[in-house]
């Protein structure tokens, strides 16, 4: 970029701006912008930073509740969890970088979301992730899974934050476009939350963390472009993470946050110095002057353009009280991190960037924000899927069960989570696989958090509205099944190209479904992220979008974490099925894995029923009646029962359903709002359920080490575990 370039429409187009948007830049500036200025506009107005296609619809999500302290708009969402504590959490995607370089893409995804959380004053206490990969048969999938899993573990393990949960799906729609959504949960005192709005004319602007290199320039605009063979040539933008520096940065920032030095703080995420400085000054309604000569640099001869757009990792921007600058410097020096005063706040309302005695950019901040494009893109209402006709089981119940528990979407994820340190910090009460949500306790209190990520993309593809609602409902249900009270969600909306009406239609419908579920379940959205343009262009020119994937990260709270229950079967209990079963096989895993068909409508989501059933189950758990609980989801009742048996090695004998429906519909149907629960006295629970209007029936008695099917066939826990545990090692370690 050292050779002079002409700034014109064609360059603006290369930077991802449309002709109309470039025209707007010209009118705001009243002149041709400099290269650096054009860079600032292009990243600030990229889909990633401006939410120009999604903003209108995001407003439809409920974001408030008495326990919500900060909803969307800050670096992460903040909820009150009692005893003076707040939980701070958010989810963010690193899809495109993870396709280009799986290890570093995933690792820097974890690093980025950690920074969003500790920026607000929280110590990160748990990480989760929601992953989607291409078909296991695709030769690329193995490489991507390997890199992503190593990257997530490599970064999280090294920083010392436990990775406690997540989800994984495989589908050919993700072949050229995996999804890596990372979530971090942090803990803060609720009266010690740090925000990003800059204030105090003349206050110093401070840069801390790693030095700036030429990493990831234009990452933000790249993440808003679909993939083609060109993606390979864009590879040099890969960023490398340094988790050890992140660890130091966390400790240094938290130490500084104990003082009164910080006026405002923001991580440098996508579009680095540009977005952090523009957003901080913009939110505070002040101007900002930056002197790039003071920016710690890793490489020689960097230009203003490069420094403003670099996405080097592990950096933060802060506005400090001037009389505390030296105190802050001492703290960062103790942690051996770079610390530099790179500017100050002004009353000009402009961002002014100087480098080597030249003004490289001078942009009025208000129009940069206010006139950012917002699109109301045409959206085509998704068609209603045809109901599934009659289907018949081709195999015996036991054969189908074994096939299902071994299938890619239902098999054991132990190979994955065994590479994540899930216990570091010593607060993990339930590790991955032990309960429907991960459970982390709050040190020196009886409080605990239940954490989960959920989405069923095949439902969303068939019916985005139902799928959006189902994702929220399932997160709520998973938290409920541990006994925790669901509080709020973060989301990561992964979709294809919004310029296509059918994709926009999916997006709009999914948000409507989510909004409805969040409202009915008192489960507001407090933070989130949108990732669009998740499409791949095949060499033959055809373009394929991913399945619509609105991943939901849910958080719930325990007043007394000792009351939490896991999902492992316990001996000598009645196993009660709660919730009604109609045998919904449309879009079920059974239909796909056993009959090879992806058809029909997803199971309907009745939010009033969801709430009623869930509130009842949670009450029974907290009262001590239900001692183990598992929600019934993918694979239906039989898979849920098998999972309980596999988790503990304790078996159960299932009763014949006597339901009037075909066995495969009863056992593998994916009707929502259902739970399996272990109780001492099943009849008493059923009686209480009847009073509460919750359908309930005893379906098994636990004991021994075998799952005994109603047709008399016996499958040992050990045999199921072998089938369950084979897929990942066979795919990855062969």
């Amino acid at each position: 970029m050292n050779k002079p370039v002409t700034v014109d429409l064609s360059l603006a187009r290369e930077f991802g701006l449309t002709a109309e948007e470039y025209g707007r830049v010209l009118s705001i500036m009243g002149r041709t912008p400099s290269l650096t200025e054009l860079g600032v506009f292009s990243v600030m107005w990229s889909e990633h930073c401006s939410y120009k296609s999604s903003r209108k619809w995001l407003r439809g999500l409920p974001t408030t509740a008495p326990w919500v302290i900060h909803g969307p708009g800050e670096n992460a969402g903040v909820v009150d969890i009692g005893e003076g504590y707040a939980a701070i959490f958010k989810m963010e995607s690193h899809n495109h970088p993870s396709f280009i370089e799986p290890y570093q893409g995933a690792a820097t995804g974890v690093g980025g979301i950690l920074r969003d959380v500790f920026t607000m004053g929280a110590r990160p206490i748990a990480n989760l992730n929601a992953l989607r990969f291409g078909s296991p048969e695709n030769p690329n999938t193995r490489r991507i899974v390997d890199g992503v899993v190593r990257g997530i573990g490599g970064y999280g393990n090294c920083v010392g934050v436990p990775t406690v949960g997540g989800e994984i799906n495989f589908h050919p729609a993700y072949d050229g476009n995996p999804l890596v959504n990372a979530m971090t949960v942090g803990l803060a005192r609720k009266d010690r939350i740090f925000l990003s709005a800059a204030a105090g004319i003349g206050n110093p602007v401070i840069y801390v963390g790693s030095r700036t290199g030429r990493d990831g320039i234009h990452g933000a605009t790249m993440s808003s472009a679909e993939f083609d063979e060109d993606a390979l040539s864009k590879r040099p933008t890969v960023q490398v993470g340094d988790p050890f520096i992140e660890k130091l940065l966390i400790e240094a920032c938290l130490e500084l946050m104990e003082t009164d030095a910080i006026v405002a703080i923001q991580d440098m995420g996508a579009a680095g110095l540009t977005s952090s400085s523009v957003e901080m000054a913009g939110k505070g309604g002040v101007g900002i002057d930056l002197d790039l000569d003071a920016v710690p640099q890793r490489e020689p001869n960097m230009t203003a353009y490069e420094m403003m757009l670099s996405e080097s990792q592990e950096r933060m921007l802060m506005v400090l009280r001037p009389d505390r600058t030296e105190l802050a410097r001492k703290i960062f020096e103790k942690w051996e991190l770079d610390f530099a005063i790179i500017g100050h706040l002004t009353e000009t309302g402009h961002i002014v960037v100087r480098h080597k005695g030249q003004v490289e950019a001078d942009i009025p901040l208000a129009p940069l924000a206010d006139q950012a494009p917002v699109y109301d893109r045409p959206a085509q209402k998704p068609s209603i899927p045809a109901p599934l006709g009659a289907v018949h089981a081709p195999l015996s119940l036991d054969a189908m069960l074994l096939e299902l528990v071994a299938s890619p979407d239902l098999c054991s994820r132990a190979w994955v989570w065994n590479q994540y340190d899930s216990t570091v910090g010593g607060q993990t009460v339930r590790r991955p696989g032990a309960a429907d949500a991960a459970i982390v306790k709050i040190e020196d209190s009886t409080l605990g958090l239940a954490l989960t990520t959920d989405c069923t993309p095949r439902y969303c593809q068939a019916d985005p509205r139902t799928g959006g609602a189902q994702a929220v409902a399932e997160a709520w249900r998973n938290i409920t099944a541990t006994g925790a009270r669901p509080l709020a969600v973060t989301d990561n909306l992964n979709f294809g190209n919004p310029e296509k009406p059918e994709i926009m239609g999916q997006f709009v419908a999914a948000i409507e479904g989510m909004a409805e579920a969040c409202t009915m379940l008192d489960f507001p959205v407090v933070s989130g992220n949108v990732s669009l343009y998740n499409e791949t262009r095949a060499p033959d020119g055809s373009v394929r979008a991913i399945l619509p994937t609105p991943a939901i990260g849910g958080l719930g709270v325990f007043e007394d974490v000792r009351k939490a229950v896991g999902l492992g079967m316990q001996a000598d209990k009645d196993v009660v099925l709660l919730g009604a079963t109609r045998g919904e096989l449309g879009q079920s895993v059974w239909l796909r894995e056993i009959l090879g068909r992806e058809e029909g409508a997803p199971p309907p989501v009745d939010l009033a029923v969801e709430r009623r059933n869930g509130d009842f189950v949670r009450g029974e758990i907290l009262a001590g009646a239900i001692t183990a609980c598992h929600d019934v989801a993918d694979g239906g009742i039989l898979v849920a029962a098998a999972e309980m048996v596999m988790a503990s090695g304790i078996g159960c004998e299932l009763e014949s359903p006597d339901s009037g429906m075909r066995p495969e519909a009863f056992w593998f149907g994916e009707d929502q709002a259902r739970y399996l629960a272990c109780v001492d006295d099943g009849a008493a629970l059923c009686a209480r359920a009847a009073k509460a209007g919750v359908p309930a029936r005893i379906i098994a008695r636990s004991g021994g080490n075998d799952l005994i099917l109603p047709n008399g066939v016996t499958i040992s826990a050990a045999r199921m575990n072998v089938a369950h545990g084979t897929f990942f090692p066979a795919l990855m370690d062969a």
Partner: protein
Amino acid sequence: MKVRVTVMLKDGVLDPQGKAIGHALQTLGFDGVHDVRVGKVIELDLHGAGEEETHKKAEDMARNLLANLVIEDYSIEVVS
């Protein structure tokens, strides 16, 4: 024949290990340490090929597996 493939991070790509090692050396009292970069060496024993062919084969291996060309460069040296 013995061949050595050396894989280093590309210039401009952050090398956290190198940085940390440089820092540790300084702490140990070594001065004058400027840039430190860390890479991998893979030493292979390839049977049944001449020097030129061994070189070509190693190059193939580097491109296909040993180096991640997104962030790494490689160099090849036939040792014996």
